[in-house]
Symmetry: C2
């Protein structure tokens, strides 16, 4: 091992090209992927960083506020405790430069000068190869802002390219960053030894801030002097590449010689997934007659006949079908949905909450059925509904229920198999006091079942508020 290094995970970004698998409020990096054994790219990234840094204390995470619960939940699932002060939440996403600057300022405050591996949370790559490349980078990090260049496997038009220049002790000076090229140009780049721009960087905090002060002095000034909310109102949305890498004279590129993908669309995902003998990938339950090279991600029996090179993505509330060659166009669907104010651009039938999540099992004008999953130690705050009653049946775990009606207050425990009726107008609270997740089937009945029929109340007896 060379010099010590800390990790800054950029967990923002809302991929629209993996819709309907990902949604705006449940983006690509948090998707549980079957071919990753139900881990997410974010979780894989955290685990990957633990092979590079010394302990979870050296992992920092920057993300928009809206992903807070998802990040905490997913860390808990893999049993990694990142200190609360290492989690830096942005008021909203402003691309990678503000996130990186905010993170590095915090890291410097905690531990002084440091070397920082800035890594997106939505890439998939060979861990050992990254370790090697980082070790090389650490040898030149006191003089250069290091970027990692991926050896291209095809003239991909979805990435920026890096032209290597003068050879250094490790890697090369960056001679030029290029925008996403057309196919012809991309071919030339590949032939001439350019690298794909991975968006992974290794920097020394002081070098980074010097260059940031030079090229983004206003933004750094805001971040240093204002509350983060105020600063974020003023600074522009800009990537690390645009903000400093393309401007600095101190950019170096270290080749990364391993498998790498940003799972940027379903075609990249297809390429990364294991395949059966007909090169179909995805579904456990696939009946394929004369069908080849398809990706089918569904949660049900899927039958295809004479289907080739297609993308088939099925979720409880939306189905997507297109040729693999049209993978990049999926964002057009999301655009259309957003234009029509359609919630399905943003959320799934699985909705993540501070306390866990719920799955909508049935949604009818007269009733709704949900499965609530409340994580150990969490609870749903005291609330009441005017227009609906709720029936709860505990199907797993243990629930602590509080009912408040006027001056009366009642607490009880519900075990698996027990149930409770909550009439309209009665304030109720449910907590999971146990060690395993609490699962409840909730049946709502009423003449008005929208989520906004909810009044949240202060519970004077609840010390957690």
């Amino acid at each position: 091992m060379g010099k010590p290094c800390q990790a800054l995970i950029l967990a923002g970004g809302s991929g629209t090209r993996l819709w309907p698998l990902s949604r705006e409020r449940y983006p690509k990096q948090f998707l549980k992927l079957r071919f990753l054994r139900d881990a997410s790219l974010f979780q894989k990234t955290v685990l990957r960083m633990l092979k590079i840094v010394d302990s979870p204390q050296e992992i920092y995470i920057v993300a928009p506020e809206t992903y807070k619960y998802m990040i905490r939940g997913q860390l808990r699932e893999i049993g990694i405790s990142v200190p609360e002060e290492n989690m830096i939440f942005e008021p909203n996403g402003k691309n990678t430069f503000p996130a990186a600057a905010l993170g590095i300022l915090a890291m410097r405050e905690h531990s002084g000068e440091c070397n920082v591996l800035i890594i997106p949370s939505d890439h998939l790559l060979e861990d050992e190869k990254l370790n090697k490349a980082v070790n090389k980078g650490l040898r030149i990090v006191d003089r250069f802002l290091v970027t990692f260049g991926i050896k291209p496997t095809s003239p991909h038009t979805g990435y920026g390219y890096i032209k290597p220049g003068e050879k250094l002790a490790e890697g090369y000076r960056v001679q030029e960053f290029t925008e996403k090229p057309d196919v012809e140009t991309a071919k030339k780049y590949v032939d001439n030894g350019y690298y794909w721009n991975s968006g992974i960087f290794l920097v020394n905090s002081e070098v980074f801030l010097e260059e940031a002060n030079k090229h983004q002095s206003e933004a750094i000034q805001y971040l240093k002097t204002l509350e983060v909310e105020k600063a974020y109102e003023k600074i522009e949305s800009i990537s690390i590449d645009y903000a400093i890498m393309e401007k600095t004279r101190r950019a170096a590129v270290i080749p990364f010689r391993g498998k790498w993908t940003d799972l940027g669309d379903f075609f990249s995902m297809y390429k990364a997934m294991p395949k059966d003998k007909n090169s179909n990938s995805g579904n456990a339950e696939l009946i394929a007659i004369n069908s080849k090279r398809n990706i089918a991600i569904t949660n049900k029996l899927t039958a295809i006949i004479d289907v080739k090179d297609m993308i088939i993505i099925d979720t409880p509330d939306a189905l997507l079908i297109c040729p693999q060659s049209s993978a990049q166009k999926v964002k057009q669907i999301v655009k259309k949905l957003k234009k029509g104010n359609d919630q399905r651009a943003e959320i799934h039938t699985t909705v993540y909450k501070p306390w866990g999540y719920y799955v909508l099992l049935e949604d009818k004008p007269t009733h709704k059925v949900k499965r609530l999953t409340i994580l150990p130690g969490e609870g749903i705050s005291l609330q009441l509904h005017h227009h609906r009653s709720e029936h709860w049946v505990v199907v797993g775990g243990m629930a602590k229920i509080t009912l408040v009606s006027g001056e009366k207050r009642k607490e009880e425990f519900l075990r698996k198999g027990e149930s409770l009726y909550v009439p309209p107008g009665i304030a109720h609270r449910v907590e999971n006091p146990g060690k395993i997740p609490l699962h409840i089937i909730e049946t709502q009945i009423g003449e008005y079942l929208k989520e906004d029929d909810i009044i949240r109340l202060k519970d004077p007896y609840n010390r957690r508020q």
Copy 2:
């Protein structure tokens, strides 16, 4: 109007080419189709017959026993009371000849000699045109077994063809019935004025039985002398065409000059459905980008990009995708499923029962959630489970509940919003005493949740048993 005529609806047959929309136990003719305003082909057929016969008393229905509840339920939905004795249930399906013979023998017993329109329940056609053709047929029915020939719109290879011969007072003598041809032969047939064999017949009971006695004497003998169960054990599975039409010298064909389809596969269905400006059909919620001529039948938002001439059929437990040109191959999927003993060849997540139906909302190892719909006047018989408890929440209608535990017996009524817990080992019965359907959300919890954990009991207090 000419002579009187009665109708014999053949409601057997289990289409496998509309899977996963249709299943073996829920075949094509009973499918509720959105483009028919949620009516089924069977219901359309019954309503069509009411334009030809004088009253529901003149409609007879033959079908395998297994479809009994579906037939009764669907008749009730359209408010048509066919007399119980007009519904003739076969022990099992033996193709159209035994069904027709069984039906005609029963009709003759009820009302003596009669003219019978034998009509499959899974066709879609122009009612007025059928009326015209039937009226023509009635003019020659005392001398001929009349079949209706469809004027071909294409050299279809999925139908038999009829070569018309000598001109009669109405229509033509049949010169030849042909098997399903190859495309070249089919083209020749179309050019030479052949008709498609529709499978609709008009016969006089006496003429039919004379010819049946001549060409299928054994079968008729069995049907006349044995119990139907015994007779069906002995007689072979054979179509009307093979059994008598191809053998008799008294076959005539009346041209049917109107739209007709047997919805034999999804491509025929596509042709019969209304289409949007891009010739896509099916889904209410379809986002189609550069996509044309697709049929998409799903119950969710469906997004397609650069997709053409495809079939997309989504149901809660199975998804089918194939080009329209492969529509006929869908049966191969069903074959595979049946070979693997897969229930999804036979049933939906919606399962039809004598008392109504249930929809499986969630199926987990620890719990199951179902929505039960119990029709007015119906009930689920007294039963108990050893390994599971059930929670019922009434979300629509009124339930009458009976609980029996040892000598104790309790009856109670549950209104919308009320709920009940049924522990393992407690015998329970639920009825719908009301006038509207009863809807219950049932949550099952236990260590063993299979359908065979059920003990059905006699209820001494229940006069319906």
